[in-house]
Symmetry: C2
Amino acid sequence: MTDFLAQRDSWSTANCSIARTLDVVGNRTTLLLLREASFGTRRFDDFARRVGVSEPVAAARLKQLVADGLLDRRPYREPGQRTRDEYVLTAKGRDLLPVLAALREWGDTYAVEEPSVRLAHHDCGAAVHVALRCAAGHDVPADQVELLPGPGLLPS
Amino acid sequence: MTDFLAQRDSWSTANCSIARTLDVVGNRTTLLLLREASFGTRRFDDFARRVGVSEPVAAARLKQLVADGLLDRRPYREPGQRTRDEYVLTAKGRDLLPVLAALREWGDTYAVEEPSVRLAHHDCGAAVHVALRCAAGHDVPADQVELLPGPGLLPS
DNA sequence: CGGCTGACTTAGGAAAACAAAAGCCAGCTA
DNA sequence: TAGCTGGCTTTTGTTTTCCTAAGTCAGCCG
């Protein structure tokens, strides 16, 4: 096969999956809100305070996350309280957890001394890591990942 | 064990690994430059054109990536040409590939019809995916990931 | 030795993101 | 029915990020 990477200019990244994903979660605040959602945070002011952003920013980003289908906004009611809205991860939002896990793992290695949160396998208690693996079940080190043209490749 | 997530306000995310990582790669352009680097792009104007940013932005981001140790800038010389500088991923930069792979995989599922690039295992040709797995070797589905306090946890 | 090309830097300005402060509204609670 | 609280929205102003356009500089090439 011809090495399509060597002709990088012959194909465009107009519909690159990474770029499209970054259209949705390409800003810091959005990813930190998802981090909080993964911690179980549900209420508006908890999101704003824990992420450390102002209310207008939290409101705008949460609204966008709901519009993009990553969070579900739904009413709930604690006994003796009025109805409130909570934000919870959808399946689409939960599928971003590997991104958060990968960011966390890099930060644990290169950006902090001691991690403040660990991921463990609920069943066996062992530490959880992000791994690349192939459909045949092999662990794939980074230098054994080959990039190949996919069906959606566009000429540039 | 007490559920530390239930007391989310009792600990801070001041040294959160995710936040620290986003300090480095928390913007779209930076991640797209790393994508290009993973495609093998090395030259300044190729980065700028392929990522679709202006030269000043490319220069600033590449400089920051070099300062942060994700890219190495080094002189090279093609025969008959003058000396130029190229940017190549360092080990620290390569360790962000799981982040890119996770972003790509989410985009393949939710944001594009057909992926334009596939990842394959060089040895066996099978498709490569990002997976969560525990130290005991189990595949860990997202709902079996448990969050536990780590040694670097700070009171808020 | 003067032009060209690659790799930037500088200057100027528009757009987006963000913060602080204040206002609004619904629905308990007194 | 008059607060009070949670969940926002509005306003105003600053900072950051990005753009275009133009300028700089080094060194090979004729």
